[in-house]
C-alpha cells in the first residue's frame, strides 16, 4: 500500500528541522491461538516539537497498540514493520536494551488507571525519585528535592508530606497527578497520554487537562494524547488522527475535523455524542461493531457500518490520500471523500435514518 511521503500535517518550525516523532508505515501482527492477526496496518503520523496530537477512535481501533508499539512494549511474538523515528533515529532498529534509556527519559507514558501503573508497596516519592535516579546520576537528596518540586509543579498540595505517602492514600485525581509527575521527572521530549482522564470526575479532568496544557506551553513537552472523547481532543490537541480497525482513516488539524470531517466514521463519532439538540430525538448511532482484528471486512474496513458505502467500497481498499489544500493537509481514507459533504459539529444533526 502506498505510504505518504510525508506524515506531517504542518510544515516544520525551523527549516531542516524534522518532527520530533515520526511514525511511518507502522504495521503490527500479533500471534493468537487462531494464528497471526494484524493489529495495525500502515499507520503513519508525526508529532511536531512542542505540539499536541490526538489519536481518537473506539475500543479496538488500535490507539493504545500504536502507543505500545512506539515504546516497543508489545507482547512477545509481535511482528512489527515500519519506522518509529525519534529525532530521525529509528527506535525499531535499535537493540531492545537501548529502549530502557529512552522510555521514561525521552518518551514517557501516562495511563488511564494510575493504580495499575503505580506500585502499591512504594511511596510515590520513592517511585518518582527512583525514576530520576535510573536515568541520571544524582544523589538521593537531589532526587528527593526534584521529586518534591515536580509534585508541586503538577499541583499536589503539601508535596513534602505526599512524597511519603503510598498510592492508596491519594485520591484518584491526585494519583493521576503523581503519575504525571513520575512521567515528567526526566523532562521527556514526548509524553504519551493514554486516556489519562477517562477514570476521573469531570472537575478533576478539567484540572488535569489544564495541567497538561500548561506543561505543553511552558516546557514545550510534545504530547501524543489518546482519547475516545472528541471534546477532550478538541480541548487538548492541535492536530488529530482518527483510527479505525488498526488504520488511520483521517488526519488533519482538530478544528478542520470538527467543522469539516471527510470520513463518515469521524462524522459519525461526533454525532453519536448526546447533546442538548439531540434531546427528545434519536441519537445518531453508527450501526454494527468495530470488527475484530483478523476478521476485517474486505475493501474499506468501515464499509459494513457506513451509510454512504457503495458496492466498490466492499471490493477495493482505499489508500490514505491528501484531500486538503496546499496550506493545510487533510488526509482521508475514503472512496467517496470528493463527493460527500459530511456534517461537522456546527452543522445540523444527521437523522438516524439518513446518516
Amino acid at each position: 500500500m502506498a505510504t505518504e511521503t510525508s506524515t506531517e500535517l504542518r510544515p516544520a518550525g525551523a527549516p531542516g528541522e524534522g518532527p520530533l516523532l515520526e511514525v511511518r508505515g507502522l504495521s503490527v501482527h500479533l500471534p493468537t491461538a487462531a494464528g497471526e492477526v494484524q493489529i495495525l496496518d500502515d499507520v503513519s503520523f508525526s508529532v511536531g516539537r512542542g505540539t499536541t496530537l490526538g489519536l481518537i477512535g473506539e475500543s479496538g481501533s488500535g490507539k493504545s497498540m500504536t502507543a505500545l508499539a512506539i515504546l516497543r512494549l508489545l507482547p512477545r511474538g509481535a511482528r512489527v514493520s515500519g519506522q518509529v523515528l525519534l529525532n530521525g533515529v529509528d527506535l525499531l532498529a535499535q537493540p531492545l536494551s537501548a529502549m530502557s534509556s529512552i522510555r521514561g527519559r525521552r518518551i514517557s507514558m501516562v495511563f488511564q488507571e494510575p493504580m495499575s501503573a503505580l506500585d502499591p508497596v512504594f511511596t510515590i516519592g520513592q517511585q518518582i525519585s527512583q525514576t530520576l535516579r535510573a536515568h541520571h546520576a544524582c544523589s538521593r537528596r537531589a532526587a528527593r528535592d526534584a521529586a518534591i518540586e515536580m509534585l508541586a509543579a503538577v499541583g499536589i498540595p503539601d508535596p513534602a508530606r505526599r512524597f511519603h505517602e503510598y498510592p492508596h492514600q491519594l485520591s484518584g485525581g491526585m494519583r493521576q497527578r503523581a503519575m504525571i509527575a513520575m512521567a515528567l521527572i526526566c523532562k521527556p521530549e514526548l509524553l504519551i497520554a493514554d486516556e489519562p482522564t477517562t477514570a476521573v470526575d469531570i472537575t478533576t479532568q478539567a484540572q488535569l487537562l489544564a495541567l497538561l496544557k500548561e506543561l505543553n506551553r511552558d516546557r514545550r513537552t510534545s504530547i501524543l494524547f489518546i482519547s475516545h472523547d472528541i471534546g477532550v481532543i478538541a480541548e487538548m490537541c492541535q492536530d488529530v488522527v482518527v483510527m479505525y480497525a488498526g488504520q488511520v482513516v483521517e488526519a488533519c488539524p482538530t478544528d478542520e475535523l470538527l467543522e469539516h470531517p471527510r470520513h463518515p466514521y469521524s462524522s459519525g463519532l461526533m454525532w453519536a455524542v448526546p447533546r442538548i439538540e439531540s434531546k427528545g430525538g434519536e441519537l445518531f448511532a453508527i450501526p454494527g461493531r468495530v470488527p475484530l482484528p483478523g476478521a476485517l471486512p474486505s475493501g474499506c474496513a468501515f464499509h459494513p457500518r457506513c451509510g454512504h458505502a457503495r458496492p466498490s467500497c466492499a471490493t477495493h481498499s482505499q489508500p490514505l490520500i491528501d484531500a486538503g489544500s496546499p496550506s493545510q493537509r487533510h488526509l482521508v481514507r475514503c472512496h467517496r471523500q470528493e463527493e460527500l459533504r459530511l456534517p461537522g459539529v456546527l452543522d445540523k444533526p444527521p437523522t438516524a435514518e439518513t446518516s
Binding site: E58, S59, P157, S171, G172, G173, M174, D201, I202, T203, T204, Q205, A206, Q207, L209, A210, H228, D229, I230, G231, V232, A234, E235, T254, D255, L258, E259, G268, L269, M270, A272, V273, P274, R275, I276, E277, S278, K279, G280, G281, E282, L283, F284, A285, I286, R289, V290, V345, L346, A352
Partner: protein, 355 residues
C-alpha cells in the same frame, strides 16, 4: 419537552443515610437530608462528582440500604419495611441497572437464565410462561431470541448491557434506577443504548432515576436534573433550565468543566477549574457544604446552611446568593456577549441553544 404531571412513583423524604460512626469516629454522611420525587413516566437525572452520594441515594431508592432518617416510598409504599411481604411488593416495582455490564452478570448463567431469575424468585419456581416473557424481552431490547442460550463471555459490552436491561425489566417495574449505565461503553454503542432507554420508556411507560457524571448524557435523557454534592441537593429543576441557566455555583462549575467539542475560534477560554477534591463526607464543611471550593463564598456561607428554595417555578437552588449570581454572567467570562451566545459556547453539548 412537556411538563410531567406530578404523580410520584418515587418519593424521597428528608432522607439521610449514614455509614459507620462507631467507636467515636464520625459517621460518613453519604446522604444527609434529601427530598426528591420522581414522577411516573419521568426521567430524573442525578449528577455530581464521585463521593457526592448519588449512588447511595440510588441504593436507598431500591431499598438496598436502610435509611438513617427519613423515608423512601415507592408508589406510596415504604421500600424499607419490617414486614417482608410489603417490602417485596414495593421493591419489585423498582429495579436497577449498573455500570459494568460484565460484573452484573453471572458468567456461568445463560442469558435466558439470568433474565428469568427474578421471575423464578418472585413465583417461587420456574413456570412455562417465563420462557415466553424472556423471549419477548430479548426482542424488545434488540437481541435475538437465539442469544438466550449464550453466556456472557460470548457477548459484546453493548449486548451485555442489553441483557442487564432485559433483566431489569422482567418484573415490569414502574421505576428503573440507572447507575452510570452507559459510562463503560464506546460512544456509538452508548448512542444505541440511550436510544433503547428512550424507546423502552415510551413503550413500557417507565420512570428513570438516571445517575450519571456525564452532562451530555443527562442533558439528552433527563426531564429534570438534580445536582448533588456531599450528600445534599444543590439544585433541582427542568433539565434544559438547569443546564442552560445553572443557578448554583457548583452546577456552573460542573458545566464549565465539560470539554467543548468546538473549533478553537468558537471556544471560550476555559475558566479556572474547580480547585481541590470533594471534602470527606465524614466531616462536611459547616454552613454551605460547597463553600470550601466556591469562588463566590462569603463569611456567612460558613455559618448558615442554605435551604433548597424555589427560585423560579420548579427550579430549586440551595445558595444564599442565587439571585445575585444569576446576574453575573457565566464563570470566567470576560466579554459581554449575549447570555445565550455565552452559555451556548460554554459546552459542546449545548452549543446551539434549546431544542
Amino acid at each position: 419537552m412537556t411538563d410531567i404531571a406530578p404523580d410520584p412513583i418515587l418519593e424521597i423524604r428528608s432522607l439521610a443515610v449514614h455509614f459507620g460512626g462507631r467507636r467515636g469516629r464520625p459517621p460518613v454522611r453519604a446522604v444527609d437530608g434529601v427530598d426528591l420525587n420522581v414522577n411516573r413516566r419521568e426521567t430524573v437525572g442525578l449528577i455530581g462528582e464521585s463521593g457526592s452520594g448519588k449512588s447511595t441515594l440510588g441504593r436507598a431508592a431500591l431499598g438496598l440500604v436502610k435509611p438513617t432518617a427519613g423515608r423512601v416510598l415507592i408508589g406510596g409504599e415504604p421500600v424499607w419495611e419490617r414486614r417482608r411481604r410489603r417490602q417485596r411488593d414495593a421493591r419489585g416495582r423498582v429495579q436497577v441497572i449498573f455500570q459494568d455490564p460484565s460484573e452484573a452478570l453471572d458468567p456461568r448463567m445463560t442469558v435466558a437464565a439470568a433474565i428469568r431469575e427474578p421471575l423464578r424468585i418472585r413465583d417461587g419456581r420456574h413456570r412455562p410462561e417465563h420462557d415466553e416473557i424472556v423471549e419477548q424481552l430479548l426482542v424488545q431490547v434488540g437481541l435475538d431470541p437465539a442469544h438466550g442460550s449464550r453466556r456472557p463471555h460470548e457477548l459484546s459490552g453493548g449486548q451485555k448491557q442489553r441483557v442487564n436491561i432485559a433483566r431489569g425489566l422482567v418484573l415490569d417495574p414502574d421505576l428503573v434506577v440507572c447507575d452510570e449505565v452507559v459510562s463503560a461503553l464506546d460512544v456509538s454503542v452508548q448512542a444505541e443504548i440511550l436510544n433503547l432507554f428512550a424507546r423502552l420508556k415510551r413503550e413500557r411507560e417507565l420512570a428513570y432515576l438516571f445517575i450519571t457524571h456525564d452532562l451530555g448524557v443527562v442533558t439528552h435523557v433527563a426531564d429534570r436534573v438534580a445536582v448533588m454534592y456531599l450528600g445534599k441537593l444543590m439544585e433541582v429543576g427542568r433539565a434544559t433550565e438547569v443546564i442552560l441557566r445553572p443557578r448554583h455555583p457548583y452546577t456552573r462549575a460542573l458545566i464549565a468543566a465539560q470539554p467543548q467539542a468546538l473549533p478553537s475560534s468558537l471556544r471560550k477560554p476555559t475558566p479556572p477549574p474547580l480547585v481541590g477534591d470533594i471534602p470527606s463526607p465524614a466531616a462536611p464543611p459547616s454552613g454551605c457544604r460547597f463553600r470550601t471550593r466556591c469562588q463566590f463564598s462569603r463569611d456567612s456561607c460558613a455559618r448558615d446552611e442554605p435551604a433548597l428554595r424555589e427560585l423560579a417555578p420548579g427550579h430549586l437552588v440551595a445558595c444564599h446568593f442565587a439571585e445575585e449570581l444569576a446576574s453575573i454572567e457565566a464563570v470566567g467570562d470576560t466579554d459581554t456577549s449575549s447570555p445565550t451566545a455565552t452559555r451556548s459556547d460554554r459546552s459542546a453539548y449545548i452549543h446551539t441553544g434549546e431544542s
